[in-house]
């Protein structure tokens, strides 16, 4: 087993565990234990009996918050990545397959957004749109597609220069045939790799937006927990049990997606 296989498997195991937590948490945790007005425990309790990850500034259990936040972080990461990779693939194929003015304009727009700091744009979008999960997904998805578009376009150009595509054209294959039968199948593996890596950066982006206070105020996410921790002075209180778990969870899941993505990449592009 190569190094990539092993780290990829480890990543997949972490992701499976996270997915399990995300699915089970809403079923097993009753809403009351996370309701600020109904908690009975003291605030800022260090880990101990009853609360094995301590409590936050309102007395809620950090462990329960962590479990509840898993779903939000994974959901935003996955949907934003699908949106981003979807836009990127569409733009990439269109600008690679069709030449002329349209391709030129699309390429120009892609390069423009590729250069701009995605976080700044995402902040701008989530400030002007109403707060909510949908806004975060849009803000991340709409600002992170250019690198996928670039890559898909390059792959489209490569594949369309191959003799078999020329033959398909000579035999009367139209745009739909060439794209559907030749371009898309050759792009899919790359797109999958890209999507995996896109989830990783989308999760970091979500946590950053939530940390800046731009998240969905009605939902618990790892980034939102860190926002609360910062706001209520977890650092001066040395409340490591409030600060460490959300960050470590983000790192673990993001790293897992990255490792799986790199393992897939090694499979898809076997030249090295």
């Amino acid at each position: 087993m190569s190094r990539f296989d092993r780290s990829g498997l480890a990543g997949a195991a972490v992701l499976a565990a996270a997915a399990l937590v995300a699915v089970l948490a809403p079923l097993l945790i009753d809403a009351e234990s996370l309701d600020v007005t109904r908690v009975t425990a003291d605030a800022w309790q260090p880990p101990g009996a009853g609360h094995w990850l301590g409590t936050d500034h309102t007395g809620r259990s950090v462990a329960l918050l962590m479990a509840q936040g898993t779903g939000t972080s994974l959901f935003v990461g996955l949907t934003a990545a699908v949106l981003s990779v979807g836009i990127g693939t569409l733009v990439g194929i269109v600008s690679g397959h069709f030449g002329g003015l349209l391709a030129g304009a699309l390429l120009r727009v892609t390069d423009f957004f590729l250069v701009l700091p995605a976080l700044v744009l995402a902040i701008a979008l989530s400030t002007v749109l109403p707060r909510g999960l949908g806004t975060i997904v849009l803000a991340i998805g709409l600002t992170s597609w250019p690198s996928t578009a670039r890559m898909v376009r390059a792959q489209t150009l490569t594949i369309e220069a191959r003799p078999f595509v020329e033959r398909a054209r000579a035999l009367g294959g139209g745009h739909v045939h060439v794209i559907g039968r030749h371009v898309v199948p050759s792009v899919v593996p790359l797109v999958l790799v890209n999507a995996t890596l896109a989830v990783a950066s989308a999760i970091v982006a979500e946590s950053t937006l939530a940390f800046l206070g731009l998240g969905d105020p009605t939902r618990i996410s790892w980034g939102a927990m860190l926002h609360q921790a910062q706001l209520h002075g977890a650092v001066p209180q040395q409340a490591w049990w409030y600060l460490l778990p959300p960050g470590l969870a983000i790192v673990a899941v993001v790293l897992a997606f990255t490792l799986v993505g790199r393992a897939l990449e090694a499979v898809v592009t076997p030249r090295r």
């Binding site: 701009l116 700044v120 701008a124 002007v128 946590s207 940390f211 800046l212 860190l226 960050g247 790293l255």
Partner: protein
């Protein structure tokens, strides 16, 4: 011809930045005044007055034209919360950001490139595995969380808020030392995140060169391994890496926003945070135009620099 094309492209990008700024903050929100005064007691008359004051009662194309002509003269409008020209507010915050970003970028470039070269040259060695592993992990670490951790771990060792203490002696040396002391944690945070990216870029850039025939020639001449690396491999591999450093300038900008927010460093990043908690659309618009504009200019510089450093590019 190539040069003219580059400048034309950058000019077009700047124009698109201006349009994007207008569209995002004047068109998308519907009525900016309603959003900005949300949560504050305001009457309809006050809102109408504000609208007139900021020119929001005029048709969109007129608003755009006046926005665009003022922008060309360096006028970014008036901040809603500061009640002062946006350009003035941004200008005040430029210094601290340049200090932080400049220091961090310089250290990150030197350290990242060095790590990347060492890792690639002994591929799959323990050093390489550790560097790549740490870099990948740091890439997964949210910048703001790393900052909070550093703050908690170091305790009272370094100041964690602001840029200087109020009770520092006014002479230059004490002031400089104080600012330097405050600079430690924010720049370490920024360096850690950015440096990881640079190390990975430099590593893959050098790996591309590893099997180039000219290295075999250099070795065949009897050069020491060290010299082959320093004189032949690195100069070629460092070009694309340096260009990428400039191209990823947006990464530094993003890092600066969260780092400054965590450490209350009084620069543009903290201003960003203040503006979005308002929200102060006119200030945000100005910040977007300025940061995006800076990134576009950095890219143009990267292009020009690449042409100067690498004569092969001119042929293309």
């Amino acid at each position: 011809m190539r040069l003219a094309g580059r400048f034309g492209g950058a000019a077009l990008s700047l124009l698109m930045v201006a349009v994007l700024g207008f569209f995002l903050f004047r068109v998308v929100p519907g009525d900016p005044v309603v959003s900005m005064t949300r949560g504050r007691p305001t009457t309809a008359a006050m809102q109408a007055e504000l609208r007139a004051q900021f020119g929001l009662d005029r048709p969109l194309h007129e608003q755009f034209w006046s926005y665009f002509t003022s922008l060309l003269q360096g006028d970014l409008g008036t901040s809603f919360t500061f009640r002062r020209p946006v350009a003035e507010v941004i200008g005040e915050r430029l210094g601290p950001t340049l200090l932080l970003v400049g220091t961090a970028t310089l250290i990150a470039v030197l350290l990242g490139l060095w790590l990347g070269v060492r890792a690639a040259w002994r591929r799959d060695s323990a050093f390489d595995k550790v560097t790549t592993g740490v870099s990948l992990t740091l890439w997964a670490v949210p910048t703001f969380w790393l900052g909070m951790l550093l703050m908690m771990v170091t305790g009272d060792l370094f100041p964690s808020r602001g840029m200087r203490d109020t009770d520092t002696a006014p002479d230059f040396v004490s002031q400089a030392l104080d600012v330097g002391h405050h600079l430690v944690l924010p720049s370490v945070t920024l360096v850690a995140v950015v440096c990881a990216e640079y190390a990975l870029v430099m590593r893959s850039s050098l790996l591309e060169e590893m099997h180039a025939p000219y290295l075999t020639t250099a070795r065949a001449k009897g050069l020491r391994d060290d010299l082959v690396r320093r004189r032949h491999a690195v100069p070629n591999a460092v070009l694309p890496a340096i260009t990428l450093v400039f191209l990823r300038f947006g990464l530094v900008v993003a890092g600066a926003i969260t780092t400054e927010t965590v450490f209350s460093w009084p620069g543009l990043g903290l201003l960003f945070y203040d503006a979005l908690t308002g929200p102060d659309y006119f200030l945000l618009q100005g910040l977007l135009v300025v940061t995006a504009g800076a990134v576009v200019v950095m890219n143009l510089l990267a292009d020009l620099l690449h042409g100067v450093l690498d004569p092969r590019v001119k042929v293309v």
